[in-house]
């Protein structure tokens, strides 16, 4: 096989494997970091938008709309304030709502939040628009003390239909390392359904009837008031004070098949004027949340760009330092007939190939890195992020990397261009 310019470049790169490897690695890390951040930024937003589904309004007694969304949709913390169920009924009748589903958060099982709600949660609410709930096994709860498990929690703990469990009244850390509250062994819950994955935070929750949650709370109330010898609390023992909810998923009446409606804003404005409730538009709050974190996002992107720039500098330095050792080789190539321009091109090509190799390894690393980060986010935070690398993003970052690498090769290439042949063919007579 004939020698070509690329053969000369390849031999130059493989002739110093350590410096080439380290330089390629530094470029690859920068590319991977940048692609991972870009990938997670887009897919993170998409993941956050999943879970709010066809909800128009989220009503709660939380101090702010953003906290309301984070707690009631993403299970960040158990809400600290509650609304009386009577108020929910009042809102249902006073506003043009298609549905209003009460939710009560505060109990948990092995660190997984348990959302108490009504069967409508599964029949009317869709975690993603056009993607209703699906059951891998079983059915919706129909009676108190029946539980439906989200896909992730069922998988994580190997839950099966008919399995019995005790809920913890109160909050607990997600990883189960520090559980607060107390276990209600008086009330045995039975798993009656296991959900299909939705790609949202709901996958890591359990669901039961709102009456079940009220009974647990009422039992605590009765124990405190009447002492330990009371009979087991039932639905019949509930008072209006027990019938509290921490949130309401609501949808304003719209035309069939339409997601948006001019009514939504009107209802929102009307509810916002009500001092008893905090009302949030989940999609708007997610957008605001991303506005808040976008600054951090930009800092990370800036850091990734700085790492990429520094890897460009390392290409420059490596080529510059090796240039001193290669002047004789360049002089010999010139004697053999290589023009100055051709030598210049060889060095720039060498730098660009480092960029190409770094970009290729970086893209591969980004795939792996994205999968690792999404796995960590899913297991630690319950946020399902599917890293996606659009070919346009990959192509742009790769092209920028190769261009930067080639630019980094310019100074060494100019040095090679100006190499004195006669001086570097010594020993001279």
């Amino acid at each position: 096989m004939a020698i070509t310019d690329l053969t000369i470049v390849r031999k130059s790169l493989t002739g110093r494997p350590l410096s080439t490897g380290v330089t390629v690695a530094s470029v690859a890390v920068a590319v991977a970091l940048m692609l991972t951040l870009l990938s997670l930024r887009d897919s993170g937003r998409q993941a956050f938008e999943r879970g709010t589904g066809n909800v128009h309004l989220l009503i709660s007694a939380e101090p702010s709309p953003l906290v309301s969304v984070l707690n009631s949709v993403y299970y960040a913390n158990p809400p600290s304030n509650a609304l009386p169920m009577a108020l929910v009924e009042e809102l249902r009748t006073s506003q043009p709502l298609e549905w209003a589903i009460p939710t009560q958060l505060g109990d948990s099982w092995r660190g997984s939040p348990t959302l108490a709600t009504t069967p409508e949660f599964f029949t009317r609410f869709e975690p993603e628009i056009g993607e209703p709930w699906g059951f891998a096994e079983g059915r919706v709860f129909e009676a108190p003390f029946e539980v439906v498990a989200g896909a992730e929690v069922a998988h994580a703990f190997g839950l099966t239909l008919g399995q019995q469990l005790y809920l913890t009244h109160g909050s607990s850390a997600r990883n189960g390392s520090s559980v607060e509250g107390h276990v209600h062994k008086e009330f045995t819950f039975t798993v009656v359904g296991i959900l299909d994955p939705t790609g949202s935070a709901h996958d890591r929750a359990l669901f039961t009837s709102v009456e079940s949650s009220w009974v647990l709370h009422a039992h605590d109330r009765r124990l405190a008031a009447l002492g330990p010898d009371i009979e087991l609390t039932t639905v019949d023992d509930l008072t209006d004070a027990d019938r509290l909810v921490t949130g309401v998923y609501a949808r304003v009446l719209t035309r069939p098949g339409r997601q948006a409606s001019s009514q939504v804003q009107a209802v929102f404005n009307a509810m916002r004027a009500d001092p008893r409730v905090t009302v949030a538009q989940p999609a708007e709050q997610v957008r605001r949340l991303f506005e808040i974190v976008s600054n951090i996002d930009e800092v990370f992107l800036g850091m990734a760009a700085a790492v990429l720039a520094s890897s460009g500098v390392s290409i420059l330095l490596v080529l510059w330092l090796t240039m001193e050792l290669r002047r004789r080789q360049i002089a010999v190539l010139r004697v053999l007939g290589a023009s100055r321009g051709r030598v210049f091109g060889l060095i720039v090509t060498e730098a660009a190939i480092i960029g190409v190799a770094g970009a290729a390894v970086g893209v591969a690393l980004a795939w792996v890195g994205g999968a690792v980060v999404s796995g960590v986010l899913a297991s630690r935070l319950g946020i399902v992020v599917e890293p996606t690398l659009g070919w346009r993003v990959v192509a742009s970052v790769a092209a920028s990397t190769v261009t930067l690498a080639a630019l980094a090769g310019l100074a060494p290439a100019i040095s090679a261009y100006r190499t004195s042949v006669a001086r570097n063919l010594k020993p001279l007579g």
Partner: protein, 236 residues
């Protein structure tokens, strides 16, 4: 057929020097002819080779240099940039004291690298290089320079210089790093290989033992003195 080398009225001096380092009125060499160039150290022997190869320019400032160097009939210094480099690759071969083989390139790859800059079709490069190496007695064409003996490296260097069928081969102290026995063998190889290809050979050497192999010997001191005598030192 034009001479392989024709030097006319060559003057060359370093910027810091008051006198001509090279002063040659005429030096001509036909195809297949060989000449040994001798001279004191610092008299400009390698500089002459670099001027012939076109890797040093004849200064445009007449106070620093002048003259014409024709290789295979072409005025090398009238060519500029890539055209001169291309011409050099196609018509000139060089052998160096330390061989200057490309590290990381096998023997055959070293020869093929010279062919990269020629007009010879690339599909012929490998077969040509292998045939030439075999003809010159290189036993392991796939070996790297470090894996070859000094004698074998010398043969690879000669093969590389002859790969493009040059009109002229320039050899700069080609035996200076060899012991006498190997030097003699290497010189035999260089002379016979050039003769076989009808390539002119300009060899610069300090080694007096080399003289008997050359029918022409030119001493740079003598050439300069003759020139000075002819002009009466007017252009000194």
């Amino acid at each position: 057929m034009p001479p392989a080398l024709d030097i006319t009225d060559l003057r060359y001096r370093y910027r810091a020097s008051d006198e001509w380092i090279l002063r040659i009125d005429r030096l001509s060499l036909d195809a297949g002819e060989r000449v040994l160039v001798t001279g004191e150290s610092g008299r400009g022997k390698s500089t002459l080779l670099h001027l012939i190869a076109g890797v040093l320019d004849i200064p445009r400032d007449a106070a620093l240099g002048s003259g014409t160097i024709r290789v295979a009939g072409a005025d090398l210094h009238a060519l500029r940039g890539a055209a001169r480099d291309r011409f050099r690759g196609q018509h000139l071969g060089m052998v160096f004291q330390t061989f200057n083989l490309l590290h990381g390139f096998t023997a055959v790859e070293n020869v093929m690298t010279a062919l990269l800059f020629s007009n010879i079709p690339s599909r012929e490069h490998e077969s040509r290089a292998l045939a030439l190496l075999e003809r010159l007695g290189v036993e392991r064409p796939g070996a790297l320079p470090d894996e070859l003996s000094v004698g074998q490296q010398q043969r690879v260097a000669v093969a590389r210089a002859l790969a493009c069928e040059p009109a002229i081969v320039l050899a700069d102290e080609p035996t200076a790093s060899l012991d006498p026995a190997r030097a003699s063998e290497a010189m035999d190889l260089l002379v016979s290989a050039c003769a076989e290809r009808n390539a002119a050979l300009v060899c610069v050497s300090h080694d007096p033992a080399m003289a008997e192999r050359f029918e022409r010997r030119e001493c740079l001191n003598a050439l300069a003195d003759a020139s000075a005598a002819r002009t009466g030192g007017e252009d000194a």
